[in-house]
Structures are given as structure tokens and as C-alpha cells.
């Protein structure tokens, strides 16, 4: 029984992390119509940058800030430098170029850090265990759950209570009309892309004490976040959260039964959604 609850908790932690990564992906697609295959690579870039800052400063907080900042910078450069030219090109071209960029990013990381895995020690305030009733749970994992939840809440606040968020929500629906009302959406899009990239990098840093850093780990999270977006529905922030939690729980609970099957079950769930409700749980019909 306690195994079940601890797995449930695990699922929630994994799920919220996935939700965080997927939110960036889905908002970028919703506003810009670009599906960013380099999203996983940004996760990796953030994680490694955070590691470097951590080893230099010994402060995990600074590591989080550093990793996020680097991911943000890379995202902005990507958008300004290359993605601009692809908005009018067919979606297949966008997939291809972001895929190519992901290879470049991963190889740069491999070149700088080598191919071996780096384990990151949890910060002082994250070491040890916590007791919840009869459950014993690693303290840091509990904290990541809190951090992820808090960040998602922050994103929610930005999206639903700020002017920027208002522009993004209206822009997802009708970018041309937003433009006609006097707002330079292109500049907003740059910011959106950057925030999406930053969210991925942020997730990369906070995840590093849980899963060791390797240059190729990004693709795993990319694929999982695709599944989340398909389940939750493209362009939907609540969809990313719900989809993320569902995905996290599927991974976690099926691991209880047979660890080898957990990823497979996730894909089965995606297949079901594709057959029964192709637009996703909260997606808008015909968003292609």
C-alpha cells in the first residue's frame, strides 16, 4: 500500500516536471505554430549549464538561475537567427530545422563536457529524507514537486493575470487581429519562444539531482512531452498540466507492475487518444 502511495507521489512529481517541459512546447506551438524539436536539447543545455554554475558557485539557486538564463539565451538566438525565416514554410521544414538544431546543441554539449554522465548532488536544503505519515520519501524529490508546482503556478499567473499573458492567449487565437490592435506580435513571439526555452532549461537543472546528466537524455523528455501534448491537446496550458500528470502517473504506476512496460504503456495511452479523441483532452478541433 505504501508502495502505491509513494509511486503515486512519484508520478505526480514526474508528471509536474513533464507538464513544465510540455507547457513550453505547447505554448510555442499554440502561438507561433512551430513545433520545436530542439526542446529536449534545451532541457539538456540548461541542465549542463546549471551543473557548471553549481560547481563554480556551490549554490544550487544560482545554478537554477544560470541554467535557465543560458537556455533562454539559446532560445532567443534560435528564434532571431533562424526560426524567423521558417514561419511561412511548411511544418515539415520547421520540424527538420529544429531537429538539426537539436543535434548541433547536443553535440556542442558533448564536445564541451564529454559523453560520460554527470551526477549532480542535491543542494543542502534538499538532502535527506522526509516522512509523510508512514511514507519515507527523498526530500529533494518532494521539493522538486513543490518547485515544479510553484513554477507552473507562476506561469499560470503570467498567462492569466498579466498583459503579456493576455497578448499570448489572444495571439494563440488570432495573431493577425492582435497585430491590428497595435501590438507587435513578432516581438511577443520572441519572448514566448524564450520563455518556453527557459522553462525547458529550468526543468533540466532541477531534474539533474534526480537523473544524471547525459548529452542524449533530451530526446527521452522530448518524446515524452510530445505524448503529453498529444494527450492534453495542443496549445492548451491546462491540457499540458493534465496531460503531464496523467503521463507521470502512467509511467509511475505501471512501473509498479512491470518496469519494462512503463514507457510502452505511455505510448499505448497516446494511441488510444489518437483513435478516440484525436484533438486531445483539452485541445481545439482542427488546430492543424
Amino acid at each position: 500500500m505504501s508502495l502505491f502511495f509513494s509511486q503515486l507521489f512519484n508520478g505526480l512529481a514526474t508528471g509536474l516536471l513533464l507538464a513544465l517541459i510540455s507547457t513550453g512546447l505547447t505554448i510555442i506551438y499554440g502561438t507561433l505554430g512551430v513545433i520545436n524539436f530542439a526542446h529536449g536539447a534545451l532541457f539538456v543545455v540548461g541542465g549542463y549549464a546549471g551543473y557548471t554554475v553549481y560547481s563554480l558557485t556551490d549554490s544550487f539557486i544560482l545554478a537554477i538561475a544560470g541554467g535557465s538564463a543560458v537556455a533562454l539565451a539559446v532560445g532567443l538566438v534560435m528564434e532571431r537567427g533562424l526560426m524567423r525565416q521558417y514561419y511561412s514554410r511548411p511544418p515539415e521544414d520547421q520540424i527538420l530545422v529544429t531537429f538539426g538544431i537539436s543535434i548541433i546543441l547536443v553535440e556542442i554539449v558533448r564536445g564541451l563536457y564529454g559523453g560520460i554522465s554527470y551526477s549532480v548532488a542535491p543542494p543542502d536544503w534538499g538532502q535527506g529524507i522526509a516522512r509523510i505519515g508512514s511514507l519515507i520519501y527523498p526530500l529533494y524529490r518532494l521539493e522538486t514537486l513543490g518547485i515544479a508546482a510553484a513554477t507552473l503556478l507562476l506561469l499560470y499567473f503570467v498567462l492569466y493575470r498579466t498583459s503579456l499573458g493576455l497578448i499570448v492567449r489572444a495571439g494563440i487565437e488570432d495573431a493577425q487581429m492582435v497585430n491590428a490592435l497595435g501590438i507587435n506580435v513578432k516581438r511577443t513571439f520572441l519572448l514566448v519562444f524564450g520563455i518556453g526555452a527557459m522553462a525547458a532549461g529550468f526543468a533540466g537543472v532541477i531534474n539533474s539531482p534526480i537523473v544524471a546528466l547525459t548529452p542524449d537524455m533530451g530526446f527521452r523528455y522530448l518524446v515524452d512531452s510530445f505524448v503529453v501534448v498529444v494527450i492534453g491537446g495542443v496549445g492548451s496550458f491546462p491540457g499540458a498540466i493534465i496531460g503531464g500528470v496523467i503521463a507521470g502517473e502512467i509511467l509511475s504506476l505501471t512501473a509498479m507492475v512491470n518496469p519494462q512496460y512503463s514507457e510502452v504503456m505511455l505510448f499505448v495511452a497516446m494511441a488510444l487518444v489518437l483513435v478516440l479523441r484525436p484533438q486531445g483532452l483539452m485541445g481545439q478541433e482542427g488546430r492543424e
Binding site: 527538420l96 543535434i103 564536445g111 518524446v223 505524448v227
Partner: protein
Amino acid sequence: MNTTTHQTTAPAVSDTARATAARPLPSGSALRRQWPELLVGLGLLVAPIVLPLLGMSPDLLTRILIWGLFGLGFDLLFGYTGLLSFGQAAFYGVGGFVTAYLLTDGLVSNMLLALLIGTAMAAMTGLVIGYLTLRRTGIYFAMSTLAFGEMFYFLENSSFKAYTGGENGIAGVPSPELSLGFIDIHIGSGWPMYWFVAVIFFLGYLVARRIVRSPFGTVLRAIRGNAKRATALGHSIQSYKLTVFIVAAAYGGLAGGLLGLFQSYMPPDAFALDTSAQLVIQTVMGGAGTLLGPLLGATIWLYLYEGLQQVGSLGPYWKLILGIVFVVLVTVFRRGVAGALIDFTRRHRRLPAYIDAGASTRVASTLDIVPPLASSRPGAPVLEARGVSKHYGGLKANTDIDFTLREGELHGVIGPNGAGKSTFFAMLAGELPTTTGKVFFRGQEITGIGVTAVCQLGMSKSYQINQLFEQLTVRQNVMIPVLARLRGRYRGDLLHRLHSDKLDEQVNAAIAMVDLAAHADVQVAELSYGEKRRLEIGLALATGANVLLFDEPLAGLGPEERVLVIRLLKSIREGRSMVIVEHDMDAMFELAERITVLYEGRKLAEGLAEDIRHDPDVQAAYLGGMDDESA
């Protein structure tokens, strides 16, 4: 659905035989048409002599050929049909592991049989995955193929570990042996293996070339160009997509099987995302839509990899360099290296598509018209809407409209803005289901049965905004609807020849009707707007429809071009009934015999053009203020 020509005299037997048989080739052009095959065959023969001078080993060449074979199928899927799949590794792995398992476990001793079974299993996997993923298009399709590919990777390492050896793969795959009755050929490593794979690659290439030059292959290109219009012209595109997906899976499975034989070992990473990704990158770099692009891309990739290993300092960075090259190619040379070369030669030699050489010499007969299922007389109702309404929740787009198009009539539909013309037109065309009421085509109910079915019955629509296949020539555009009429909504004729007398005659007739014979082999993207508009009408005509719907045929045309199109519309009336929606009143009154006026979703008036002109209610509707309170 086969049609007989709409002639008053019965066709002579010899005519029919001649029309449906493949046309004998003019001498000399057979060789000209097959020059890519000759070139590739020659290249495969010459490679072992030339390429080792560049430092390429037989193993490298064999590996390139295996990737090239894998890519033949993928190029059909992506380059020709436009379906970007990131999960082809699943089929590579299934084919490879089934073949390897059968041979190592001793279940099958005949190598060719094992390869065949592996390929068949891969094809079946393609059927299942294709069915699930093709439910969506574009980005969703790419994402779900990636996910399913990954799923197979996990399955390989978990449930099927006993068969696949999990992380270890399958070792000890016996080297291939061919027993030809009188002699047994043992294919060792090195050059013998190269020749073995080269033969299979060549055969695979011949098949792929036939597919590309078949009617099936032409429809694939239409799907890539404008899937919506391909559907509206009578093709059941989901069936075509699924078929080519299975074909690509089969090629992948065969390539995987060869990999195991080549290495005497089947590696688990055959299923990995890396494998799918490598295939995509190689195809794009080499040039999608050329069949040889993947081969070229594999050469670049593998040669670069080996070459850079020699330069010590750059060795570990080969993938980074590759990534940069890839991004540059995608951004600058959209069609890859092969594509850039082809564009270059085309520009400097003005070659028409060689496949169509000789097609224009066919004598144009009159364009076939699908004969009515029942006999009809002039004035009989042909297209009817009875009490048709369309309500979207509270919004009443159309309410209770009755409409009749008579045999041989040219009937206009007009109405001020917001009258609900587009919605009504879509229901009339069988595209949109009604909320209440029914639509009948020659007595058969067609309410909402969909554009493909309606087209096959003999009705077709021409669009307000041009819906053409921009990358194809005029001739190739017109072939699409004719192919649907001659072959029905789907035919798996992957290996048939495209051109036949019947096809060419019909295509030329349609092209002549819209006066585009001078531009027949010009790419549509290069036509003027007026010429495109005529082609738009030509596509609807070429379906053989006896009932045509025209949605604002004069949209966007200048004054001179309007005159031409009006003349065209008058000239095609023989044997056809037409409905036209237009805003150009002068044109409408010049063309239409009867006119129906819609206003605020209802039918306001209907009658002879002259009567409508003088109808005070219609005048008031147009000028506004039907309701006294608004002034």
C-alpha cells in the same frame, strides 16, 4: 468505375482494344525513359573500381547501399507523398530481427525465405502503425510516428527480449547462402557481400521507379501537392497513404534483414530513434523526392564520418559538423544536394518532364462526360435540394431552401452578403451535411456523402480560390482527375505504366477545352493568374462531370480575362448542367438562364434571368432596408 464514351455510335472493338492497351513506345525513347535505371546500374558496376580509389571500402559501400534501400521506401513516403515519419526504425528493426531470428534459430534455412518473411512482417507492422498514425496529418503525424518508433525500441528491450536478445542483439547470423539447384553460392564478406546487396538494391530501385511512374505514384504526388483537392477530384487518399506507408515499411524491413546478414549481427539500436533520425537526415541532405537522395545522403554521412575519423582532432566532432551541414542544406537548398543538381540542369536545359514526352502527340478527342445513370431528357431535374437548412446552434445559415437544376441548364445563384450562398453551395455539392432537408443527384440522395463520392458520381466543383497542384505541370494537374475517373477512388496499380492512349487523349482534350495547350508542360507555379483560373475550371471538367458547380469563377480576374472565362463557360455547356455563384452581375445575366436569389439564408426569388432583373423584392434586398426600422 469504367466509363464508356459519350458517343452516339458504338465504339469499334479495335478502338477499344487500342485504347486500353499500353501504347507501343516510339523507338529509341524506351532507352531515353529508362536512363536513370541505366545510370544507377552502371554506377553500381563501376563503383567497386572507382570508389576504392577515394578510400571507400567494400563494407562502406555495402552499408551505404543498405541505407539507400531503406531510403527508397522512405522517399516514396516523404519525398513523394509528403508524409514525414520519424519512426521508420520500427520496420527496419522488425524486418532485421525477424530475419536474424529465423536464421539463427534454424527455423528457416533458406536465406531468401527468411528475408521475405522479415519483410512481410515489417509490412504488417506498417499496416498497424500506419492505420493508427495516419488518422492525423502534419505535425501530429510526425510526433506519433516518433512515439511509436520509440515504443518498438522499448518493446524490443522488454517483452520481446527473449527473441531479440535485448541489449545484446542477435549475434551469429549465418552468412548468406544461395542454393540455385546446380550450385550453392556462399556469399562471404567484402566484395561478394557488396554484389549481393547491390543486386537487391538495384531491384528495389527498379520497383521504386515503376511505382513513381505509375498512376499510383502520380496520385501520391497530388496528395503531397494539395491533398484536399486530390480528395475532391475523386481519390480516396487515406487508402493511398496507407499503401505507401506499408511499402515504405517493407523496404525498411528488407534493409534491416540485409543489415543482419551483412554484419552477421543484428544490433538493438536498429530500433533506436537515432536510426529513424539518420534516415530522415540522409534523405533531406541528399534530396527528397529523387529516390536517389537517400543514397547520396548516406554517402555524405558515412563518408564524412569515416573521413573525419582520419583527421584526429575533428573525429569526435563529426556529428556536430554534420548537424551544421544539415541545417544549412535545409535552409538554403530546400531540395537537398540532388535536388539542387536537378534544378541546375533543368534551368540550363529546359527539359520537360521526360516521363510525359510523347504524350502531347496523342490526338485529342472530345472530353468524356460521365453518362447519366438513368436516361434523361432536357429539362429533367438533375440536382435537387429539398427543404435544405443548415443551423449552427443559434445561427441559421440556411433555412428551408428548395432548388432544382435541370438537365442542360446554366443556373445562377446570387444574393447579398450574409445570404448564406457558400453554405448552400457546400451542401449542394455534397460536402456539408444538412441540418434538415436532402440533396439529390439524378434521383440519388447525396446529402453530405463527401466530395470523393460525389465526384465519382459525376459532379464536380471549381473553387473560388485556386486549388491546384502548384509543383506539377499543367498536364500532370489534369491527369489527376482523369486518373480518378478511369480508375475509381482507389487502385493499387503501383507497377502499371502511367501513360495510355485513353489517359493522354482525355488529358489533352481537357487541356484544349480551357485553351492551355501551349502551356501543357509548364509548371503551374509559373502560370499567370488568369491561366491558373482556367486550369481550375479545367480540373473540374477533366473529372468528366456532367454537373459542374462554379464558385465565383471570375474572382480576381481583370476585365479582359473576365471576357475569356465567360466565353469559356459558354463553350463547355454542351452535355453539361451548371450552377454558378457569382457577384459580377453583368456576367451573371449574360450567362444564366435561370437565377435563384438567396437573402438572409432563405430563398427570396427564383425564375428566368430577365424576371429576376426586374423583381422589386430582389432590388430592395440588394439595396438594403427591406426592414423599415433600419433607416
